[in-house]
């Protein structure tokens, strides 16, 4: 059996033509974006749940199914809002590979092109499904590099502990061990004297950040760790009337400012933000802190 390099009698393009086309594609990719996208059969990424498809939507009947029916059919959700009125299932598929022209990958794997699938379910106060929606995020042309974190942020807009969330943002919390009763003077005074950044104040250079979300309600500052369920009690919950002061200090993660709060019993906490500004959060908290009685 021989392979006809000059084309077939059925009129198929000649192999030489394919080579020229491929060469032109590579040259064009190199001159423009520098990337070549190779579509692959869609497959689930490692660690992704695999029981979520567009057909899963049809399993859930609005007005009939309750949260318990949803969980019995689809299993544990991937995310839930603090008030449990919204739950979300997600999966991640790889839909292609990307080759970057002229970049040495050191033999490492080619970057995957992911596509996230979401099934968002809204429930009423009786726990009955009112709405369900299946969406896909990430295409060849509009790629997403990581899990779309805004999906989680969207769950943080209702209420927590029966109170409306008035502001929320992704944040890194630096708990300050050793701050117990060891602060000889006001945190804010120290910062304003230029002794620096507030971390030394809390004995914090060695401490590790805890990543999560800061949520402010009318009475409380709450912090939820990324690893915990949003319907669990917050990892940190500080009532504003337990705070002595609030101010800004140097961020440890970026060039901006971070928020520092001190409780009346001399516990310090620092928060680095990703979304909202530290200044606006500080203003909001300062407006809530009751002035300390002189002599107390």
């Amino acid at each position: 059996m021989s392979f006809d390099i000059h084309g077939s009698e059925f009129g198929a393009p000649r192999l030489q033509t394919w080579f020229v086309l491929l060469l032109l594609t590579v040259v064009f990719a190199g001159l423009t974006s520098g990337c070549i996208l190779i579509p692959t059969p869609h497959y689930y990424d490692t660690g992704s749940r695999q029981n979520l498809t567009a057909q899963s939507t049809n399993l859930i009947q609005p007005g009939v199914d309750t949260i318990e029916d949803v969980l019995l059919k689809l299993g544990e959700p991937d995310n839930v809002s603090p008030d449990e009125r919204r739950i979300s299932y997600s999966s991640k598929k790889i839909i292609g590979l990307m080759i970057v022209i002229g970049v040495d990958t050191d033999g490492s794997e080619l970057p995957d092109i992911p596509q996230y699938h979401f099934l968002d379910i809204t429930l009423d106060n009786q726990g009955v499904v009112t709405h369900r929606e299946f969406t896909k995020v990430g295409t060849y042309l509009k790629q997403v590099e990581t899990f779309p974190r805004e999906r989680i942020d969207r769950l943080l807009t209702n209420s927590i502990g029966g109170e409306e969330i008035i502001a929320s943002s992704r944040a890194a919390w630096f708990p300050c061990p050793g701050s117990d009763g060891s602060i000889p003077e006001s945190a804010l005074t120290t910062i304003s004297r230029g002794l620096g950044h507030g971390f030394g104040l809390c004995g914090a250079p060695g401490n590790q950040p805890v990543f999560g979300c800061l949520m402010l309600t009318g009475s409380t500052l709450n912090f939820m760790k990324t690893t915990q369920w949003l319907n669990e009690p917050p990892a940190l919950s500080l009532r504003y009337d337990s705070l002595a002061e609030c101010g800004l200090c140097e961020s440890r993660l970026h060039s901006g400012s971070a928020l520092i709060v001190r409780t009346k019993d001399n516990h310090c906490c620092i928060f680095d933000f990703d979304g909202i500004s530290a200044q606006s959060t500080c203003d909001l908290i300062q407006g809530k802190i009751k002035p300390t009685q002189p002599g107390k």
């Binding site: 318990e68 299993g75 544990e76 995310n79 726990g127 899990f147």
Partner: protein
């Protein structure tokens, strides 16, 4: 003699490489579950702390790994990345348990999450 010793040493080392730890999975792990009989206390005593709690702990969920060798299941912890991305790599099933007001198991289902 030397050759024999070397042969035994190589054989021993080879076999040591094949030794695996005790199996984690139990084929009878969920046999104690019976709707309208099993209590929440019994569930926690048998399976430990759940990976998720919903509706004021009326619904508990567990993640279960699967061992094909002995067709057994074992409880695994919930894992998610710092970005909030869920991670099911170690779990194959999601066990959902629904209790009534007296903490008696009313319904349950074992959902295959990884196929």
């Amino acid at each position: 003699m030397k050759t024999k010793f070397l042969a035994v040493l190589i054989l021993t080392l080879t076999l040591v490489g094949c030794v695996t730890g005790p199996s984690k999975g139990r084929a009878d792990l969920l046999n104690f579950l019976a709707d309208n009989q099993t209590t929440k206390e019994e569930v926690i005593l048998n399976l430990g702390q759940p990976s998720g709690r919903f509706e004021s702990e009326k619904i508990l969920t567990y993640r279960l790994g699967y061992e094909s060798g002995n067709k057994g299941c074992y409880v695994v912890e919930r894992v998610s990345s710092w970005s909030g991305e869920p991670f099911w790599a170690n779990a194959r099933y999601s066990l959902v348990l629904v209790f009534d007001g007296q903490n008696i198991l009313r319904k349950h289902s074992l959902v295959e999450v990884l196929r």
